[in-house]
């Protein structure tokens, strides 16, 4: 089949039209990465004037930096707990609200409110909630136990992770809920009725009809939240600043501390490149796996 022929003048005109867009994309997409790459091979710190070429020194330092790898592991840990919890809770809530009921819209609107709160505000609020002296959580525990409670939620190692996860899951479960509610609403009712007539149980119907139907939306929700959790910063910063010690330091907090508190500009560039590579690999694998980017 032969299409309309394109004259060279037309082709040039097309390129002229798209050139500004390409230029902008290069400027905001490629230039920062190239610049980042250049910086990561230098020895820049904000407090020194040394701009000398350091070769792979910063990348070698990455390998020996136990704090970096620990922060990465903390991030993975937060993601591994929070993501399934938010997914399951969101799905359960969506199932509850799938049927019509009085005041359903109002309840949904109220449930979604945490999502519109800025994460740093959410973190600050939870920090007050967990305050050992004036926080309502300790006060409620005090009422229940009948004695003054001074639980140090953000100080003691066995409490600090539950505290952060509670805040994170509280804020983002509604996001999962909203997306999954929309997905569940789109499931073909006739298939559900047919399954019911055929005697299929709830689990069977869910796994064979509902889950395949909502999977594309669920996969996107998992991806979005997974990436969000990978850059987890605000809530942890507000609650613990990565402490006790560096016990809850995430990769984002580590990068911020190195870049903006300790001014290790080039080293932070190397860390940022590492994150870009890790995320690119991870995303490529995931996108292939969930079959939504073909």
């Amino acid at each position: 089949m032969s299409g309309p022929t394109v004259r060279s003048g037309d082709r040039g005109f097309r390129y002229t039209l798209v050139a500004p867009s390409i230029f902008v994309l290069l400027l905001i997409g490629v230039f920062p990465i190239v610049y980042l790459l250049m910086v990561s091979f230098q020895g820049l710190t904000m407090t020194d004037n040394d701009t000398s070429f350091q070769g792979l020194l910063n990348f070698r330092a990455l390998l020996d930096d136990t704090r970096l790898w620990q922060s990465l592991m903390h991030t993975v840990f937060f993601t591994a707990i929070a993501l399934p919890a938010e997914l399951l809770l969101g799905l359960a809530m969506a199932q509850l609200f799938i049927d019509r009921m009085p005041g359903r819209q109002v309840f949904i609107a109220l449930l979604v409110l945490p999502v519109v709160v800025a994460p740093i505000v959410s973190g600050a609020t939870w920090s007050l909630m967990f305050d050992n002296r004036f926080g309502p959580i300790n006060q409620i525990l005090g009422w229940i136990t009948g004695e003054e409670m001074a639980v140090l939620w953000t100080v003691k190692p066995h409490l600090v992770y539950p505290a952060i996860l509670m805040a994170e899951i509280w804020q983002w479960t509604p996001f999962m809920f909203l997306l999954l509610l929309a997905a569940l609403s789109g499931v073909d009712k006739s298939q559900l009725e047919a399954a019911s007539i055929d005697g299929a149980g709830w689990w069977s119907t869910f796994f064979r009809i509902v889950l395949p139907a909502i999977w594309p939306v669920m996969a996107v929700a998992i991806l979005i939240r997974g990436l969000d959790l990978f850059r987890l910063f605000d809530v942890v910063w507000a609650l613990t600043k990565g402490g006790p010690g560096t016990m809850t330091e995430t990769i984002s907090i580590f990068t911020y501390v190195k870049g903006f508190q300790q001014f290790e500009t080039s080293y932070t560039g190397a860390v940022a490149l590492l994150i870009i590579v890790l995320l690119t690999v991870l995303l490529t694998v995931l996108l292939k796996r969930v079959s939504i980017a073909r």
Partner: protein
């Protein structure tokens, strides 16, 4: 900060209330300055530079501190010279970052700066601060600089022999204690019987432990603990530095630059802290400035150590000031005594110096503004502002007759601040100081998490050695030894 908007709302009222007083003070030359004072010299020199309505932009700590230039000194400077003053409020924790970012960007957005003296080596090495010696001579400020209390003048003003900032805030830790409790006859008798010495403000940490535990045992039922203390890592950092050195510790081996913070002294301090928490209020591990203040002024602890504003707040000095409405109302006015912390060498924690940004496009006008702020005449008024948190730092501040009348015990308060300024210990100040302090802060938070004190200190020492290696051992050694040679580095 959440209180900023409310602070600004009251700005106009305070401004108009204080301006006439301030202007009168200037005209009369309060503080005993002559007609050719440094303040007047600065005003006369600034007038032609300010012609046409220039604006001096100064970086100041956000919150109460910045009410000084916003409500008091800024409007007065504009009235006297025609130069407007724009205040860039920055939280203390971000000031270093903002100053460095602006310097690297080279925009010239900042003319004058408030800098913490411990940051000076870093800022000077980077080139962010303007050397001031030539301007000091040109505007004849050396004589008045000499009247700054020696500790601040000799230790917080110069780097490598050059002046880079004017010490402008006499931060020093003071021990506050409840005079009424320490004077209680029954308690005194019981204490003497148990410990064989008189109940009095502790001179050593051993005494502090004994008195604190004793008072908690006797008074806890009435809601008062023997002591409360900063324990949150950011504040604990300063208390550790103070106590570690009072107990004989040294941060580094001056020959090898190996960290010695993990010495037995360091372990003793960490373990002592943990033991002391048992006679302090529950949750003391999280106590920062406000939590500790609230506990003390509400009468829930008998002793604490903190910066000078605690003394003013506890005395109820201008308690009805709107800007201070976040401060818990004192229930102990008239009952507070002042002493040097155990060991007798208090930490000169933080403090501020006034500097000129090297990227400023109007360095001379900026310099004249900070000379005027820092001068005998104007600083004597500024340290009395109830809301601004600037603490006495000149010899004349400690004997200012107006200050002495502010509350009944102000004389003892000022005498204690002055004594502290004479024996005070400087914050550790090296190249990349914050990296060392960050390791210490993390160590303190690990201490409250329950980890072993020796293990934590070993890790801190390892981290310090790594930072030293990165900076360069010889380079850092030179900076450390210069710092350690200063009078306020270690107790003499």
């Amino acid at each position: 900060m959440s209180d900023v908007s409310s602070l600004r709302r009251m700005a106009a009222a305070v401004r108009f209330a204080l301006l006439p007083i301030a202007a009168t003070g200037m005209l009369l030359g309060s503080g005993g300055a002559s007609a050719a004072s440094a303040a007047q010299t600065a005003v006369d020199a600034a007038k032609p530079l300010c012609a046409g309505g220039k604006t001096i932009t100064i970086v100041w700590e956000a919150g109460l501190q910045s009410l000084d230039p916003q409500n008091f000194s800024g409007p007065m400077w504009e009235k006297l010279t025609g130069c407007k003053v724009k205040v860039v409020e920055v939280p203390a924790s971000e000031m270093f970052t903002k100053i460095m970012q602006e310097y690297r960007a080279g925009t010239g957005a900042y003319d004058a700066l408030n800098v913490v003296p411990a940051w000076m080596p870093d800022l000077v090495q980077a080139g962010a601060l303007e050397p001031l010696d030539a301007l000091v001579d040109k505007y004849k400020y050396r004589a008045e600089l000499k009247n700054i209390a020696p500790t601040y003048r000799d230790n917080q003003m110069t780097v490598n022999g050059k002046i880079y900032g004017f010490p402008d805030d006499g931060d020093v830790f003071v021990m506050y204690y409840r005079k009424d409790i320490f004077a209680d006859a029954a308690l005194k008798k019981a204490f003497k019987a148990q410990f064989k010495y008189d109940l009095a403000p502790p001179k050593t940490w051993k005494q502090f432990d004994e008195i604190g535990a004793f008072l908690t045992e006797k008074l806890k039922a009435k809601g008062t603990y023997g002591a409360s203390m900063f324990r949150e890592a950011g504040y604990g950092n300063f208390l550790f530095q103070e106590r570690f050195r009072n107990e004989g510790g040294r941060f580094f081996d001056g020959n090898t630059m190996k960290a010695t913070i993990n010495s037995p002294v360091g372990v003793k301090v960490f373990e002592g802290w943990r033991a002391e928490n048992r006679f302090m209020p529950p949750g003391v591990e999280k106590f920062g400035f406000v939590e500790n203040l609230a506990t003390f002024v509400k009468g829930e602890s008998a002793m604490t150590i903190s910066w000078p504003p605690y003394g003013r707040f506890a005395a109820g000095y201008l308690a009805n000031e709107k800007a201070l409405d976040w401060v818990p109302k004192t229930t102990i006015a008239g009952k507070v005594g002042y002493a040097l912390p155990p060991g007798g060498h208090p930490q000169l924690a933080m403090g501020f110096a006034l500097s000129v940004a090297s990227t400023s496009k109007q360095k001379e006008a900026a310099y004249l503004f900070i000379q005027w702020l820092n001068s005998e005449e104007i600083s004597n008024q500024r340290v009395k502002l109830p809301y601004a948190l600037r603490d006495p730092f000149r010899n004349s501040h400690f004997t200012n007759p107006e200050y002495l009348k502010l509350w009944p015990d102000a004389k003892n308060y000022l005498a204690t601040l002055q004594a502290g300024s004479k024996t005070g210990l400087l914050d550790l100040s090296l190249i990349q100081t914050d990296k060392y302090e960050e390791a210490l802060r993390q160590g303190i938070s690990r201490l409250w998490a329950g980890e072993d004190a020796k293990k934590i200190l070993d890790d801190i020492a390892k981290e310090w050695d790594t930072v030293t290696q990165k900076v360069g051992v010889d380079k850092q050694k030179a900076v450390y030894n210069a710092w350690a040679a200063k009078g306020g580095a270690y107790p003499k």
